[in-house]
């Protein structure tokens, strides 16, 4: 029937935003102070689930991200546990509010951003945030997280509610591949080796973790054993694990759905420069804007696909010991 409600795009049960939205509803009883802030985009961020399950704790701010972000500071100040939700690109509208009214005040407030990077797909370049990790990472005391799959997103949702201090967490728009089983655990600040190998380490976050695993499988066919690290916490970065990987594998690839400047790649480069400098290749969007298209297609065209990661791994390996 033509008059039926339309199908929501890209929010199958396996998108990170859906996993986040459902997890939030499930956790609401356990966290009675939890309130969810929306800027007229609940259907997009996954928190329509929470609106339905806990309407009295769902706070509507309209299309006004600055006010929403700063108001979260006030809600936290009176003892509530606010979770600010919008698209990643619109979080960039409220960077200064997150800085002053959340981070500077050390508020227990969480920012959860859906629609990061090229994963946004057909909405196109204007909507594909490639800068958010860099911008939020630079705010003193702000923790930055980008989980890899729906299971991890659900775990991370609980972890940030239990966490003390402001957090910026990315989810994702498009159906995501599963990386982890039901036995997965998550801890803020800890990277995890998801695949062993000693020739090179691929450090990835978000949608790039699944692609990194795929790249490692391809490399394995050529006898190259790539280690894959899921670096779900970008700040504070797991410097100990990075140092170990650099020592053990001698070359690093970073992979993220973000500009290659200032994001996960930057965090890894900074960390290793302090502990164990080694060749790094960066997989990410190369300082250009995105475009409309399907996420997988865009990933390939902009050099974020598993093939690009595998090529970067070969380059990194080739540079070992060449200094």
């Amino acid at each position: 029937m033509a008059s039926e409600a339309p199908a929501l795009i890209g929010s199958s049960g396996d998108s990170l935003r859906e996993a986040f939205g459902k997890a939030l509803s499930g956790l609401a009883d356990e966290f009675p102070k939890l309130v969810v802030l929306d800027a007229d985009i609940a259907g997009g961020t996954g928190v329509h689930h929470f609106r339905k399950s806990h309407p009295e704790r769902f706070l509507q701010f309209g299309i006004a991200e600055q006010n929403m972000m700063a108001a979260a500071g006030g809600l936290a100040a009176v003892g509530l546990l606010p979770v600010v939700t919008t698209f990643a690109v619109f979080c960039l509208r409220a960077v200064e509010q997150a800085r002053l009214s959340l981070a500077y005040c050390k508020r227990n407030a969480m920012i959860v951003a859906s629609h990061p990077g090229l994963d946004v797909g057909p909405d196109g370049g204007s909507a594909q945030a490639l800068e958010d990790i860099a911008a939020f990472r630079a705010i003193p005391g702000m923790t930055v997280i980008s989980p890899a799959d729906p299971i991890e997103t659900a775990l991370a949702t609980r972890a940030i509610l239990e966490f003390d201090g402001p957090v910026y967490m990315r989810t994702g728009r498009s159906p995501a591949r599963r990386v982890f089983g039901d036995d997965h655990t998550f801890e803020i600040g800890k990277g995890r080796i998801v695949r062993g190998g000693n020739d090179v380490t691929i450090v990835a976050c978000g949608v790039e973790v699944a692609r990194a695993v795929e790249a490692a499988q391809v490399l394995a066919e050529d006898g190259i054993h790539a280690r894959v690290v899921n670096m779900a916490t970008i700040k504070p970065i797991d410097a100990v694990l990075l140092e170990r990987c650099a020592k053990e594998t001698g070359a690093i690839v970073t992979a993220e759905d973000h500009n290659i400047l200032g994001g996960l790649g930057g965090a890894v480069a900074e960390s290793l420069a302090l502990t164990y400098p080694c060749p790094i290749e960066f997989v990410g969007v190369k300082d250009v804007f995105g475009a409309s298209g399907e996420p997988e297609e865009l990933a390939v065209m902009f050099g974020l696909g598993s093939k690009s990661i595998a090529e970067a791994a070969r380059r990194a390996i080739a540079r070992k010991g060449r200094m």
Binding site: M1, A2, S3, E4, A5, P6, A7, L8, I9, G10, D40, I41, A42, G43, G44, H48, Q60, F61, G62, I63, A64, Q66, N67, V89, F90, R93, G121, P122, D123, G124, G125, S126, A127, F289, A291, S292, G293, E294, E297, L298, M301
Partner: protein, 304 residues
């Protein structure tokens, strides 16, 4: 309606003859084309915002059909009027009206939101030079248009600037910064049109964030305010002419519209705001309601 009295007649529009009946008919036909094209392109894209594209079809058809001094062949003419689609998610309607008037190809512009196509989900000047500025983040297009109006005035140009905003978009503080600024600088070459369809992403404005009394807000920000039926082409034409003659103040046209206008099953339904997927049957029904023939429907849906 509260436009300032026409103390001084400066607009070149003053000299133009009153709009002819057949102009109105032409515009109505163009609006029909826009609506059909919107449905077809969103159908092919598999995503896109139909509701807010349909509500502004008559406004766009009027602007491009009669009001804007722009020429498809010379998108860089410094004398041209500027139009900014501040509610950038209505891109399909902009592409459609552009296609109708020869700014872009009709068939090509059905290839919406696809990789490699210049017809992105939101209008991008980098892909289409006749798009005056890239939009998609609500509130910004309005400020950019304001900057254009200010810059044109500084350079003594008689070109005018038009910005089309959504009602939900008015919740962005940036719009009120711009409203205050445009009035302060007396940008009477600047005209904002509000596509007042009473709905935004998730629900009615009233539920999400009340906008009323809306005309009072704009008056308190010192704009000349007109309130009209945004589907009434004749009213649109007259109101644009008045706005063009307003002195010392920017003009806002609060155009009351119906979200999803022309497609009965979409009208006034928030669910059809969002980025939605149209089934073949839905697209067929919509095009039928919009007066397309069987042959046209086949061309729209299969000919691409």
């Amino acid at each position: 309606m509260a436009f300032a009295p026409k103390a001084v007649i400066t607009s070149r529009r003053e000299a133009a003859p009153p709009p002819a009946r057949d102009l109105e008919q032409e515009i109505a036909l163009a609006a029909r084309f826009v609506r059909q094209h919107v449905i077809a392109s969103i159908y092919h894209a598999g995503s896109g915002h139909p509701g807010g594209s349909l509500s502004c079809a008559d406004i766009l058809a009027t602007l491009f059909g009669a009001e804007l001094n722009t020429w498809p062949g010379s998108p860089h003419d410094p004398m041209r009027d500027r139009f900014v689609l501040s509610k950038g998610h209505a891109a399909p309607a902009l592409y459609a009206v552009g296609a109708h008037h020869g700014y872009c190809d009709k068939l090509a512009s059905l290839k919406l939101r696809k990789f490699g196509s210049p017809f992105q989900g939101h209008p991008h000047i980098g892909d289409l030079p006749w798009v005056e500025t890239s939009t998609g983040s609500l509130g910004q297009g309005f400020s950019v248009a304001l900057g254009m109006a200010m810059g044109l005035k500084l350079q003594n140009s008689s070109a005018r600037v038009y910005a089309l905003l959504g009602d939900g978009e008015l919740q962005e503080g940036e719009v009120w910064e711009g409203a205050m600024c445009a009035a302060h600088h007396k940008l009477d070459n600047f005209c904002a049109i509000i596509d007042y369809n009473k709905l935004q992403s998730d629900a009615r404005n009233d539920e999400i964030m009340r906008l009323e009394p809306l005309a009072a807000k704009w008056r308190a920000f010192d704009w000349a305010v007109a309130e009209i039926d945004g589907h009434d082409v004749s009213a649109l034409l007259k109101t644009f002419r008045r706005a063009g003659a307003t002195h010392d103040r920017p003009s806002v046209i609060i155009a009351h519209t119906v979200k999803g206008k022309g497609v009965p099953y979409m009208e006034n339904m928030p669910a059809w705001h969002g980025s939605v997927k149209l089934t073949r049957e839905q697209a067929d029904d919509a095009l039928t309601a919009l007066g397309a023939t069987h042959k046209e429907i086949r061309e729209y849906l299969d000919g691409v």
